[in-house]
């Protein structure tokens, strides 16, 4: 297989040799998993499903870019194009009850986790139909029903939360229900987040407390305009960071959804069984700019083209066609279905009303007081079941 030069190459502390995003053993100390698809029991239905999901995410993101140009989406918006196989493969490798938390490049995870594209799009349109009623925006996607614990805008913020979600699962099972831990948590982060203190504290805690969280570094080679080797030490062997915390590290090709699934299934099963954390250097690439205003001058067209040649969608398409699972006609039908879904999501979001002004003071506290009108679903947060923890303050009455 061709060896792709990932931006991990170069830099002061990395050897000047390109690394590969495919499953070839390049660095002696990396544990490159190569769980064969067959061993992971991948069915044709699964592969077709992942293919559809990746098509959906890509179409969704392309239309997001368009909507951003049309000013229907505001603020910062980061698209996931190129990285689709990561969210889709990882999500498939765990169970729906397993919590997921990620950073601000989060639309792909939301869709892969099962969020209705309408709710995802409407959130970005700032409409009441959004997954957070238009209060969170592109960087802050939350979906309780699908066990998606956000979308977090501050780089690295989600990494201790990921440990906490897994800690919470284990505590509930073992301490409250008296049974073995049944869940693993997936915590996604960018390669840039490796340099936040919070991440290192979280890794230490996870290693120390036997917390079943999997840190998936979506190593797309860049944090904004900074190539990974300019921002982090040991860029060529990120798993050495994990070793420092006694955590198993893996390198996975994030451009091949079947491989992502197979490797992540192996890793997740092991974490679940042993109740231990893991760290994954997931090699991937973002095709577009960091956000909507990035001319990408820090890298070459050639580099982009090499990765686009190994496109996760293109690769699976070829594989499905070779296996006789996909024809030009069925592909066209799928593409049309996906376009329709996204078009519907946009129409629906356009029609969804803007949030009423009352939302400004709603969801600040679970319990109402002063100007705050409580929260939409207090039962979800134990609100109504709780004893009121403060007396009702009627400012007008108190001061008259």
């Amino acid at each position: 297989m061709t060896s792709l030069s990932h931006p991990t190459a170069g830099g002061t502390s990395a050897p000047a040799s390109p690394h590969s995003v495919v499953h070839t053993k390049v660095y002696g100390d990396s544990e490159h998993l190569q769980v064969p698809a067959a061993a992971a029991h991948v069915s044709s239905e699964q592969m077709l499903d992942w293919f559809k999901q990746m098509l959906l995410i890509r179409e969704f993101e392309l239309r997001c870019m368009q909507a951003y140009q049309e000013k229907k989406i505001g603020g910062f918006c980061h698209v996931y194009i190129g990285q689709e196989a990561v969210a889709v493969g990882c999500t498939a490798a765990v169970q729906h009850k397993d919590p997921i938390v990620t950073a601000y490049r989060d639309h792909g995870h939301a869709l892969a986790r099962g969020m209705d594209p309408k709710h995802c799009m409407a959130e970005m349109f700032g409409r009441i139909g959004g997954c957070a009623k238009g209060k969170g925006g592109s960087m802050h996607m939350f979906d309780r029903d699908n066990n998606l614990y956000g979308g977090h805008g501050i780089v690295g913020a989600q990494t201790p939360l990921g440990a906490g979600l897994a800690f919470g699962c284990k505590y509930m099972d073992e301490v409250i229900d008296g049974k073995p831990n049944s869940r693993v948590s997936l915590c996604f982060l960018g390669d840039g987040a490796l340099n936040q203190g919070a991440f290192h504290e979280a890794m230490n805690l996870a290693g120390l407390f036997d917390i079943p969280v999997i840190y998936v570094v979506e190593n797309n080679g860049y944090s904004m305009g900074t190539a990974i080797a300019r921002g982090t030490t040991m860029a060529h062997s990120l798993i050495t960071k994990a070793a420092g915390y006694g955590i198993d590290g893996y390198v996975v090709d994030g451009m091949d959804v079947v491989g992502v699934y197979a490797d992540m299934k192996h890793i997740a099963d092991k974490c679940r069984a042993t109740s231990r954390p893991a760290f994954v250097d997931m090699r991937t690439y973002r095709y577009k700019g960091h956000s909507m205003s990035d001319p990408r001058k820090y890298r070459t067209k050639e580099e982009e083209e090499v990765f686009e040649m190994h496109d996760p969608i293109g690769r699976l398409e070829a594989r499905l066609k070779t296996a006789g699972l996909l024809t030009d006609d069925s592909l066209k039908a799928m593409q049309k279905a996906v376009r329709d879904t996204v078009r519907d999501a946009i129409t629906w979001s356009d029609e969804s009303p803007i949030p009423p002004m009352a939302e400004l003071y709603h969801d600040v506290f679970v319990e109402p007081w002063g100007p705050y009108t409580g929260s939409s679903q207090p039962a979800m947060n134990g609100g109504t079941a709780n004893q009121p923890s403060m007396r009702t303050i009627d400012t007008k009455e108190e001061l008259s």
Partner: protein, 329 residues
């Protein structure tokens, strides 16, 4: 004749940094994307080329680390300028910037100063949501030992930043993404603006409007509106909130008898509440009404445009406050 030209707020910041770096080799700039990318907001464009990689330094996304590093370098006698892409991201560096920088001189009994400037975008940038829209002056003005500048225009930005860099104490310099492209007159000649000197930018007789940073522009809009109703507003741009030029505000309120304070940070325990309290104290007998305040709503910053607009201070809210403060409802 002094040559005056119009430049953008971002250019004014760059000129201040570059001039000070030419003047003093101890001054250097560090932060995320400041060098090779020319700055996330193009404030440091061209600086790497002029000063080289030893003095214009790209950092990883490690705010706590590089803020602390700058403080250590300042203790060693250097004069770092640290760019936070946004002040919202300074919160992960809260310990070094709040526990080290402002207290070093005091804790060391005067042995180690901390001449470091932290600067970056502050306040809502336009639908950036709850995590990215901090007005950190609400938090940080509570801490003794730091100076805080919040310039509203290119001229003040340049003059205050040069003063900040040349000074001997830690400075938090709060800019605004929404103003970086604003143009204003800036002379070619060198000038410095002292901290603690407010500017009366519109004179009037009926009500004093006191503000800093971006909301100053909303105050000017509101003053214009009020003029149509025959209410004459005096607008004061405080320019720095630490130190706070209370004298200029008091002199104005003694004349107008009414005061509206406009502060984009949250109301509880804010620079706005401090200013109002000081005005109440010094103008107790001069005020015809209590000091009115316009702040952001007391909730996290919402994303949706309509909610965010309602959340932020604006000319309409200021005008309402002026009418209430002057009994013109």
């Amino acid at each position: 004749m002094s040559a005056v030209r119009e430049i953008e707020y971002r250019d004014a910041l760059r000129e201040a940094m570059s001039e000070e770096m030419r003047r003093d080799k101890r001054v250097f700039l560090l932060g995320e994307e400041v060098a090779e990318y020319n700055g996330a907001y193009k404030i440091s464009r061209g600086m790497l080329e002029e000063f080289g990689a030893r003095r214009v330094i790209d950092t990883p996304i490690s705010e706590s680390g590089f803020a602390g590093l700058a403080i250590g370098a300042a203790m060693m006698g250097l004069k770092p300028v640290v760019e936070f892409m946004s002040w919202s991201f300074s919160l992960v560096a809260a310990d070094p910037i709040l526990n080290n920088a402002p207290k070093m001189l005091y804790m060391s009994g005067g042995q180690f100063g901390c001449p470091v400037v932290f600067r970056g975008n502050d306040g809502a940038g336009g639908q950036l949501g709850s995590t990215h829209s901090w007005c950190v002056e609400g938090l940080f003005s509570n801490v003794p030992g730091i100076k805080i500048a919040i310039p509203s225009n290119p001229y003040d930005a340049k003059g205050l930043l040069k003063t900040a860099i040349r000074g001997s104490d830690p400075v938090f310099f709060l800019e605004s993404e929404r103003m970086l492209g604003n143009k204003g007159e800036v002379p070619e000649e060198e000038y410095l603006i002292p901290f603690g000197q407010a500017k009366v930018i519109r004179s009037g007789t009926d009500c004093t409007l006191a503000s800093w940073g971006r909301p100053v522009h909303f105050c000017m809009e509101a003053a214009e509106e009020m003029q149509k109703l025959g209410i004459s507003c005096e607008v004061i741009d405080l320019r720095t909130v630490r130190p706070l030029d209370i004298g200029t505000v008091v002199r104005s309120v003694k004349k107008t008898g009414a005061c509206v304070v406009v502060d984009q940070s949250w109301s509880f325990g804010s620079p706005g509440s401090e200013l109002a309290s000081q005005v109440h104290r010094h103008c107790f007998d001069d005020l015809d009404n209590y000091v009115h305040r316009v702040h952001s709503a007391d909730v996290p910053t919402p994303y949706a445009t309509n909610l965010e607009q309602e959340y932020l201070p604006n000319a309409r809210k200021i005008a309402e406050a002026v009418r209430s403060a002057t009994y013109n409802l």
